[in-house]
Symmetry: C2
Subunit: 421 residues, 2 copies
């Protein structure tokens, strides 16, 4: 059985390679035409997609999935319109493929260019939300990659319907339907087969919780990009404007609690603790946030004592850990120890503190006087985002189209041979 | 014992992190001063380095190492002068750290920049040549990284002496000596501990044969960059200038056989086979190259029949596999199946063939009418090279200073909070 599944995944990867080999020759015009076809097909076939989605919702409800998950799983005319518009946005973005990154004519006349090329076959592993299926397919196509999509079993009917619509549209637009394929989703082993299909798959992007990411890191032989774990901090410096600090902490924590750029931990410089700790405690509690605090915070009513585990926890809920630090450097060390390398913010009016914090904190995004919520591909002007990388290799921070590409050195000569040294 | 070794490697990595945290704040001026100190110290302490090297050579000779390996192991005044000059060259290169890759002021006034930052702690695993120790240390330092060097046991005395000299120079220049550390080299397990030190080590670059690379791929949990395996092809197209083809094939094969950019396989279009096969056979044989050929090549005297294994073999010797193909697309398919993604060359006067080959062949470098020998960081204008990546993630082709960096998004605001969606 498992061998069958392995062969299924490998066969899909081989079909993806054939598709990718054709896609690498497709012009931007052809890819954009396909993206518009895909958007149109999603709109015109919305009824069958919603019907499939209703089955997932029904099964999910029967299985007792929490309302939050069911909400993320649910599609509607509006949500389908949203993903269709997303595909049109991607069609409007510049093609990353072929972009010349560097180039020169060498002293010997050899014309050298480093150009962006597609990765080839890209796998995506993701959880409940079926809109990711469409987003990922669109971004992969535009960047010239064939996509192997491994969604969650709770969204199986929705994903199957969506991928069928997308494949039909690709076919209609004259591109290989195998540019987008859905992998079996019932067995965790299909993930294992995907991330060990070395040579068949060029890149896998896991989007999910720490458990998925760790499993991928442990087992993968295919290159992967870690995404999404965000234990983000806001550090309120000795020279912070406390009104600004309050509004940044509140926004970072409460704007949307379920996303990776939400703040999970608050660090307050000792010099402003007396003024700021009572004030931010009240403000957070008014916003229904539970504070897991150190001894200074627990002097305030309603603050829960933080355990060692709290400092490393990504709550994704109305909870925040909070402590007082003696210096900026102590804040930096705390972040180095407990942070996940996603987004870290300092609130300060002191230029030296801001420069030191941005230079020393090692994370995908480091902000001065701004909410952690800004880390987002669309906000950064990328047009769309396939995830937020928390690793240092290849891509760091929001990943758009160019992060789905590799490069190639191309040289044109006229019989150039290299002299012996 | 193995646990001790593990702790030794981890302790070195932790010291490297402390050094890296200081190095990230070092200006280019300080790093360049240190590089010049290192070069001067290598020159002034050449006698003790040569003495240590003599012990390695003696031990190697006693152990029966082949002359080729002994030659790569040997240092001399000239070679030490060479690596010292190399450090000075690196000092003269622009600092990659701090380079602004992208940047804009967002519509809301948030100032956003993506800047290059060091990777942090970088491990290198490499074989006999002790000059790599100095090159790697210099490139790591300039790019702001602390280096963990794991050389071969055959070069132990040389590497120990070199690293001691480099560390003393760092100390004299006011930078942490732990920016450069040598790891234990007697047990293969130290490599395993290095590539599984996740969180302690940011990147490992293995430089060596396919065996080392595969072990790293299978076991690593730390991000790695594959380097160096080069099964490079020269494809002689139907519209090739045969004089040019002969000179490119000879140069690609025979310029230096032991390097990864040497050609290992020759593909000849059927239309020119009758004219070219006898001619190139004679030319290669005159250069003492053994041809492992298909049925068309074996009609020539002295050509050995190729086995299936030959097509995937990186000989690194005066051997080449050779076959006739019916079309450019067959050449592309052959390369896709047997190539290692390093360097592939076409010889043709046909623009369409050149465009199709460069678009379809998936490799770090694809050349038209030029020798595969050109793939080299110094030739590409990078100033220095730490290896040639054959993977698609992060770095592809020659790796210089910028390939040893990551990036970070830095934003400066004035209390910017993000509106709810």
């Amino acid at each position: 059985m498992t061998d069958d599944l392995r062969e299924q995944v490998h066969a899909a990867a081989r079909r993806a390679r054939v598709a990718a080999d054709e896609l690498v020759l497709a012009t931007r015009e052809r890819k954009d035409t396909a993206l518009h076809e895909m958007a149109a097909a999603l709109r015109s076939r919305a009824p069958e997609i919603l019907e499939a989605n209703a089955k997932d919702i029904e099964a999910g409800r029967a299985a007792g999935l929490p309302e939050g998950i069911l909400d993320r799983l649910a599609l509607s005319e509006t949500r389908i319109e949203g993903v269709a518009k997303g595909l049109e946005t991607v069609a409007g973005l510049a093609d990353p493929v072929g972009e010349v990154l560097r180039g020169s004519i060498l002293p010997n006349g050899l014309e050298l260019r480093q150009v962006r090329v597609p990765m080839g076959v890209v796998g995506m592993v993701y959880e409940a939300r079926p809109n990711v299926t469409v987003d990922a397919a669109g971004l992969a196509l535009k960047s010239g990659n064939a996509a192997l999509l491994r969604g969650s079993s709770t969204a199986e009917h929705s994903n199957t319907a969506l991928v069928e619509v997308l494949r039909d549209a690709l076919d209609k637009a004259g591109l290989p339907a195998d540019c987008v394929q859905l992998l079996p989703c019932h067995d965790r082993a299909s993930v294992t087969h995907l991330i060990t299909a070395r040579g068949l798959v060029d890149l896998v992007i896991p989007r999910g919780g720490a458990g998925l990411i760790n499993a991928v890191v442990e087992q993968a032989t295919v290159p992967t990009i870690e995404t999404g774990v965000g234990n983000c901090h806001v550090y309120v410096d000795a020279h912070a404007d406390l009104d600004m600090a309050e509004s940044i902490v509140l926004n970072s924590k409460t704007r949307r609690t379920s996303v990776c750029n939400a703040a999970e931990s608050l660090l307050v410089h000792a010099d402003v603790a007396e003024a700021f700790v009572p004030r931010i405690t009240k403000a957070l509690q008014n916003a229904e946030v539970t504070i897991h605090g150190d001894e200074q915070f627990t002097r305030q009513q309603g603050v829960v004592p933080a355990t060692d585990e709290d400092w490393g926890t990504e709550y994704l809920s109305l909870d925040i850990s909070a402590r007082v630090v003696d210096s900026l450097d102590e804040a930096v060390r705390h972040i180095a120890r407990h942070g996940s390398g996603h987004t870290e913010a300092i609130v300060t009016d002191d230029v030296r503190a801001a420069r030191r914090f941005t230079a020393r904190v090692d994370a995908a995004a480091v902000f001065v006087n701004a909410s952690t919520a800004w880390t987002d591909g669309a906000e950064f002007g990328m047009g769309a985002e396939i995830g937020i990388s928390t690793q240092k290799l290849h891509a760091r921070g929001p990943m758009g189209l160019s992060e789905l590409t590799s490069s190639k050195w191309v040289a044109w000569g006229e019989g150039h041979v290299r002299p012996r040294a």
